[in-house]
Symmetry: C3
Subunit: 340 residues, 3 copies
Amino acid sequence: MGAGYTLAELASRFGGEVRGDGGVRVNAVATIQNATPGSIVFLANPHYRRFLAETCASAVILTSEDAAEAKVPALVTKNPYLLYARVAALLAPPSPSPRGIAPGAHVDPAAKVSADAWIAPGAVVEAGAEIGARAHIGPNCVVMRGALVGEDTRLSANLTLCQGVSIGKRGLLHPGVVVGADGFGIARDVGAWVKVPQLGSVRIGDDVEIGANTTIDRGALEDTVVEDGVKLDNQIQVGHNVRIGQHTAIAGCTGIAGSSVIGKRCMIAGGVGIAGHIEICDDVIVTAFTLVSHSITHPGTYSGSLPMDATGEWRKNSVRFRQLDKLARRVIDIEKKIKG
Amino acid sequence: MGAGYTLAELASRFGGEVRGDGGVRVNAVATIQNATPGSIVFLANPHYRRFLAETCASAVILTSEDAAEAKVPALVTKNPYLLYARVAALLAPPSPSPRGIAPGAHVDPAAKVSADAWIAPGAVVEAGAEIGARAHIGPNCVVMRGALVGEDTRLSANLTLCQGVSIGKRGLLHPGVVVGADGFGIARDVGAWVKVPQLGSVRIGDDVEIGANTTIDRGALEDTVVEDGVKLDNQIQVGHNVRIGQHTAIAGCTGIAGSSVIGKRCMIAGGVGIAGHIEICDDVIVTAFTLVSHSITHPGTYSGSLPMDATGEWRKNSVRFRQLDKLARRVIDIEKKIKG
Amino acid sequence: MGAGYTLAELASRFGGEVRGDGGVRVNAVATIQNATPGSIVFLANPHYRRFLAETCASAVILTSEDAAEAKVPALVTKNPYLLYARVAALLAPPSPSPRGIAPGAHVDPAAKVSADAWIAPGAVVEAGAEIGARAHIGPNCVVMRGALVGEDTRLSANLTLCQGVSIGKRGLLHPGVVVGADGFGIARDVGAWVKVPQLGSVRIGDDVEIGANTTIDRGALEDTVVEDGVKLDNQIQVGHNVRIGQHTAIAGCTGIAGSSVIGKRCMIAGGVGIAGHIEICDDVIVTAFTLVSHSITHPGTYSGSLPMDATGEWRKNSVRFRQLDKLARRVIDIEKKIKG
């Protein structure tokens, strides 16, 4: 942890206004409820405001609205979570990657590996693959022929980049990710399916994070594209030919069917389904468990989940759902009668 | 790409009727909107008809209804996507697999590996496993003891076949697939769960494709069965003792609970849930995000997802859902009153 | 299978009351419908009662209600499935694990591996990791630096424990599991996302089973916790800072968003979504495909899925759902009118 930084030093690096003693020194981040002296914490969710008075932290990052209640020196900012993210990255930097090709790595002589990249034990790098400067290919990762990994990109472990896919700089891919498996392309013949060759690839931009066990299929003819700055959580399925716009964030367990286009700066919650061949414009928010079955052409928030209830109540109501059209017709009849 | 084929040659191999110059030569497939000369494209989705007049392709595969508008030589057929699939497989065949056991592969001396199979670096083949002729065991795949891999079957990378499971001929399994992990069998004791040993296996037929990160559990006592020609997309969960009938296709993120039986030629969309211990007859279509909570005994199309809406509208309506039974009772009361 | 056990011996080991010849000898378990002589079966689901009269099993485990109809010797108990689980574990024990470090395993000299643990070919154990007595690290598993694996815990294959996570004794993790990948922590800056370092870990208790391709993220600052005796099915996503209470069981494809707390002895069905920052008390049951969007403070059963229907009917009703608030208002108007 080292000697840390004073609050004034943090403000000068990252912005924020110091309230109280700017000379207080912090060397770790913590949660507001469990902090110990020497740590700096943040308050962003009002749910945790009740801990503000009693925190043992040496400093707190918060908004001007909450600052009055702080009992310790504070960094005041409009976006405490963002400022916290920068402070945390400074105080707890990721451990540096080694350099070179480990014994037990399987690197094809026809692969092109930067001298200061790291290829861990059990990793497989096939012919024609290119691994950029300072890239980290973790244990048991597979980089198939012709795949490209950009500078400073980190493949954690046990994940697969299929042939010819590319990922840009400063990417972070977690275990179990699969980039470039065949899309689900099948053509119906009499009584059987014929596979449609999946001849496109996957192109992933810079600064993209992909969560554990997320899968991104290669395009059928052209490429599946994930633009710069996209953040994908775990267990997301991205179908062939999909395009995800810059700085869009998608939470876990969401599935995107083939050929759909998602705009920039969208926020898609968890467990969402996005139908195939549709378009979602920029700056759309979709709440959890929604099926997006048609295109969205206006920025805004969209929902489609059913509210939870005690099972007894739910059962009564869901039976009525199956009679809803009839109920509506009965109301129309009544309206006619009492008008008449 | 080589010299390619004339349109007449393609018609003679795969069927379809030539319209225009049958001597035109193609050596690649492309999308109708981005084709270059020398390529052949298809038109199946009416959404793309607008590109027909201006495509730069040398030839197009389409239906007789669309043929009149084609400006380039055409192959006319009832099912353009199917004919395209065959042409694409001819023009862009998969790269051939090497033969032999790579340095860095871990093959138990008591495994039986066909001389012309390929075991890639980092792959593990345990005792008693059998790898058929021309099978491809990709990098870091694990084939546990006693598992059987049929002729010409391809395991891509980083996937696992557990002990004793079998897969037939010409299969294609994508990265992250798990076949034969224990089913979810637990028996409740006072305040704790007792594991129920999962003693069955998994039997997979011929010509089966399994998408990335899909999991198929072994049976509790008898086997989980996936019949010939089944096509599974990514991130599907198949519970223990399930049987999936021939030529059924299932899209991504669908989950099938234990002991359910799905018929032949069904088409299950993405994000569907199928409850346990139910039966779905042949030729059933289930649309996306539907929970199939009881057996389906008649062929047809079934649905159960909630329609998406702007969040404000959705909130008003979903509150009413929780009062739906009461609303229906009030309508009944009104009907009685205005009758009386 | 060997000579097996008499029914009386089984009753004496595991409880249950013998009806009929306690000297009958069994050496295998089977399903009631496909049993052969020498096997013992169970009847727990009334759906299978029709096979009771004609089973070829040598003995059957069932409740006193069903016992009258048994034609073969029986073990009578209140919980046949539980008694069966114990008998099956006796008659079909898992095959023993080898001991030692296989050639082709990659074990860092600074890892601490118990002398009677097993490290399979292709497994990677990094510096500072500790592998307990009789633990089994299967082929191509990755145990990152500082991770702890308890006694008798079994990691099947191709799965990943990230840096510093810990799992207790007698655990069972199936292929593709990822424990300790970064949680989905991102802070919004102007037009881009800034990663929030994920500095917590994952602590998993004793007797926990985790299904294939399930992912459990590390905490943001404190730890994600899975308590003793928890049973997780396949393809479950557990977000950062989640706590799952003792002996809770969760079925496949369920997703739990960050910072939520689930009580003890809960049963969460498949395809469920649990929102972030909520609490579910002990002894709650949630049925399939429910979105738990707010805290649950009372034990009981909760639901929220839409009932399936033939697509034509479903379409008519789901259109009405989007008009439900208006319909309710019209009913209110009618009520006013006919009162007036």
